[in-house]
Amino acid sequence: MSLVVRDNLPVLIVVALLSSAYVMPLLTKIRRFRFAEFFAVFMIALALSGGIYLGQGILNHGSFTYAVGGWAAPWGIELSLDAVSGFFLITIGLVATPIMLYASYDLVAEVGSRSRAAWFLTLFLLLVAALCGLAITGDIFNIYVMVEVATIASCAIVSARNDSASVAATFKYLMLATIGSGFVLLGIGFLFVLTGNLNLNYIGQTLRLTWQNYPTALWVALSFFTVGFGVKSALFPLHVWLPDAHSTAISPSSAILSSLAIKGYIIALLKIFYVGVGAQIIWELPITAILTLLGMGAIVAGALFALAQDELKRRLAFSTVSQVGYIFLGIGLGNIHGLTGSFMHILSHALTKALLFLAAGAMIKRTGKTRISEMAGIGFKMPVTLGVFAIGSLSMIGIPLFSGFVSKWQLLLGALAKGNYLAVLVLVAGSLLAAAYLLPVLRTALFVRPTPTPAKDEAPSVQLVAMVFLAALVLVVGVFPHQVLQLAQKAAATLLRWGVL
């Protein structure tokens, strides 16, 4: 790798994705459509390899900063490349690549027309670029800009198909997400007024010295962030937009929104809370207790709502509400295990939920049936799809050897370290509820056999490759989690400002 590329890799990842996003419509005009799709997959995979390279470097040599345009902090925008960024970059790449690959099979047919499909590619790449930006930025206003790019891109991606239900869902999503942005920006304003800085590290340094002079103002700012990012990442009870948006969108959209988009906001929240404000201050304020409570509420309520849904994609969407609760619970626990658990769950849920949405999409596409009760015997028709759906379900439930168990274990340890037995109970009950809303799908699809037995009619092989790739990752992370777990632990340690791990 040439030196110029290597030295500027952090910013290049985002810039490359952004610029390729905008050439997509042009590219589809001058080359064959398949080429544009291939190019999009290629760019995301490239970002993934960049992320892995950076992550490896961070794991081996520690974190570093990058001054955009050569303007040093606090004047310029500083990118802060730490384990958090590395971890999330890798997560984005690992999940977005197969989703794009899956989408490429029949994108034009799915969204209606060639030009719409081209714009879908643009939006998809924009979203991925904004998430990468969120992963690496160390500047609070930059976070706002990236959050807005991600929000607008994800709103538009919901209504990719242009049917009225998804447009209505998009509008609802846009309104609530904008309120969320308002709160976030208000919080940023407060932090700026309190510290005079936009750089997260500088904010942190200033606050550590002065926060006792204005605890109320800081507390208000943190509440604004909680509400703002809470709306955007669908933290119960601020989740109302999510089920509509994620269930009416086309499956690749649902997959990337549920698995990655909402996690970007959580990463932003983590950065502001732990890098910008700092663990010591957070623990002094009641904010962690509130996050713990909200997380637990989300786990239970989301799962109960999911149970009540018969429509498969809606059930999966509510499942996301429940799973986001795990991540917030870990953040609320705030110790090394809790945060490691949150990071692992960000990865594990991203892989698993993407897998489930893609498999559900394939099932719905092949059979035209959207309700679980109508899906009797689909397993005989699409054995591989149902197989990967089963892997996803078991991971979501948190069975050992699947990725979900790794995060669940860390969260359980975190809850015990905090002495929070209620959280232990909720975590355990959460997996049971996950079993309750996912296993019936498998039961109906695999063990209720209609007569005559349906003939095999498997999903197209490109989509199968994407799903099997995700399923394999779920198993790899579940069985050999050392590398990622180490990175997650390092990310948690970075947030807690532990010197070395």
Partner: protein, 135 residues
């Protein structure tokens, strides 16, 4: 007037901004007319501009255009203004996107009332067909 009251008066731009913010959010959440929601968004965003600009204000300061001849001039903080330029760009894009969505919604549902649209969507779900197709 007590200490609390005087603090309120001293910080009146912030109080004003927060009040405006609340009005904006209230408008978005309670009005069922989609256009009013968009207006609410703009009120809300506007309140944040007030907050930032007020934060950067210096009493008696002038616009931050460097005047080398007059070295004892006091300038207002330029950074919040620059930030709010970005903020304005963002809110214009959000407004544009929501207006575009409203047009689509109006074309398919024939109304700009959120409750009516929700009712029609639910109806469509129950019937299992897109009631608005053909529009």
């Amino acid at each position: 007037m007590g200490e609390f009251g005087s603090r309120i008066v001293q910080n009146y731009p912030y109080v004003f901004a927060l009040a405006l913010f609340a009005i904006g959010v209230y408008t978005i959440l309670t009005h069922s007319n989609l256009f009013k929601k968009v207006i609410g968004i703009n009120i809300m965003e506007g309140s944040i501009y007030v907050l930032f600009i007020a934060a950067g204000n210096v009493r008696g300061g002038v616009a931050p255009v460097l005047d080398l001849a007059n070295s004892d001039l006091v300038y207002v903080h330029p950074l919040p203004q620059a930030l709010m330029l970005t903020g304005i760009v963002v809110s214009v894009s959000v407004t544009a996107l929501s207006l575009a969505l409203i047009m689509k919604l109006y074309r398919s549902y024939g109304t700009v009332d959120a409750r009516e649209i929700a009712r029609l969507t639910r109806l469509g779900n129950e019937v299992g067909a897109d009631v608005t197709s053909g529009s």
